[in-house]
């Protein structure tokens, strides 16, 4: 008899208390196991997809002299390298955030320092992943064959990050020049640094004539595309 009563109480409790609570939008039971592939709290999210299983990612960003870097950007990317979160370090170089548990790639960068990429950063359920980053100053080749932080072409950048000189002569000619400068490729050709194709020199000897009686020629030495040239002004009348 008692057992029947107890059974009835349990059934009634289940029907009127547990089930409504579980499905109530304002009441989310806890995902009790974050690795059993079961949606324990019936909220539609299973295991690491459930924020109940979120962990924390945090870390300090500093430079090679261990000085904290404020304003460093920390991008957290998912397995498809899509950005999930973006953070900026504070005055102490610290960043911290709650994040769904899982495996991420973390990219940290700041101004002209060499960006740091860390793959397979695992945030465990309810765990804290400490991901410190040290950024080093350095020059990285860019696609226009210059280094980060300056506008000088480096022949050594050939083949790096999209930098592609026409050939080794072009690389040698444009070494230490600036993008856009016109340099002599050889006696008959010139090229526009850094990645231009050598072209025939189409130069005409300057023999100036005037349809009227008098002609005055004034020249000024100026810099053009990295070379000293003469700007010539001729008046005629």
């Amino acid at each position: 008899m008692i057992n029947k009563k107890l059974f009835a109480i349990i059934i009634v409790s289940f029907l009127f208390l547990v089930i409504p609570l579980a499905y109530a939008p304002w009441f989310d039971l806890f995902e009790s196991d974050c690795s059993n592939s079961i949606d324990d709290d019936f909220d539609g999210d299973t295991d690491c997809a459930d924020s109940d299983c979120s962990g924390q990612i945090k870390g300090y960003v500093n430079d090679e002299s261990l000085q904290e870097i404020e304003g460093a950007r920390i991008r957290v990317l998912d397995a498809s390298l899509n950005p999930v979160q973006v953070h900026y370090s504070n005055q102490s170089g610290l960043y911290a955030s709650s994040i769904l548990c899982g495996t991420y790639t973390v990219v940290t960068d700041f101004q002209d320092k060499i960006p740091l990429t860390e793959e397979n950063v695992v945030v465990s359920p309810l765990g804290t992943m400490i991901n410190n980053a040290t950024l080093y100053a350095g020059n990285v080749c860019q696609d226009d064959c210059t280094l980060t932080g300056n506008n000088i072409i480096e022949a050594a950048c050939q083949g790096i990050n999209g930098c592609s000189f026409y050939d080794s002569t072009s690389a040698a000619v444009c070494d230490n020049a600036q993008p856009g400068w016109i340099k002599d490729y050889n006696a008959t050709h010139f090229l526009q640094c850094a990645e231009g194709i050598p072209q025939n020199k189409t130069q005409v000897a300057s023999a100036v004539s005037c349809s009227e009686e008098n002609l005055i020629k004034v020249t000024k030495v100026v810099s053009y595309q990295g070379k000293l040239v003469k700007l010539v002004v001729v008046t005629c009348g």
Binding site: G180, T202, Q203, V204, A205, S206, A207, V208, S209, C210, S211, E212, N214, L215, I216, K217, V218, T219, K220, V222, S223, Y224, Q225, G226, K227, L228, V229, K230, L231, V232, V233, V234, T235, C236, G237
Partner: protein, 119 residues
């Protein structure tokens, strides 16, 4: 005889006057050309001038293109010169540098460089 001498003197004086006048006009014309050439060169290369084609790294190709986009008469007005002019660039060997999309120079077709009109 005296009359003949007087006529001769007047003729000589007249010739001298004509010569002096001609010379004066010619000199004024040359001075004007010189003045305009110097003024134009200065205005083109002085960075603080609105019509300058120079930047802090030398001649600016974008400014050259902008210059090229104007009518010749507009340019004369812009730089305050009345003489016909031609602007071009020579390299260190004295050869004309042709810029991409440009003719031999920018200016009047009354001036030719190696037989090619400067326009």
């Amino acid at each position: 005889m005296a009359l003949l001498t007087s006529d001769r003197a007047i003729m000589i004086l007249l010739a001298i006057s004509v010569f002096v006048l001609l010379k004066t006009f010619l000199t004024i014309g040359e001075d004007k050309l010189q003045h305009d050439a110097v003024l134009l060169a200065e205005r083109l290369t002085n960075i603080s001038n609105a019509g300058s084609i120079a930047g802090y790294n030398g001649i600016n190709i974008e400014k050259m293109k902008e210059l090229r986009s104007h009518e010749y008469l507009e340019l004369k007005e812009r730089y305050g010169v009345t003489s016909d002019f031609c602007i071009f660039i020579e390299d260190d060997k004295g050869e004309v540098l042709r810029l991409d999309g440009f003719g031999v120079g920018i200016g009047s077709d009354k001036i030719a460089i190696n037989g090619e009109p400067c326009d």
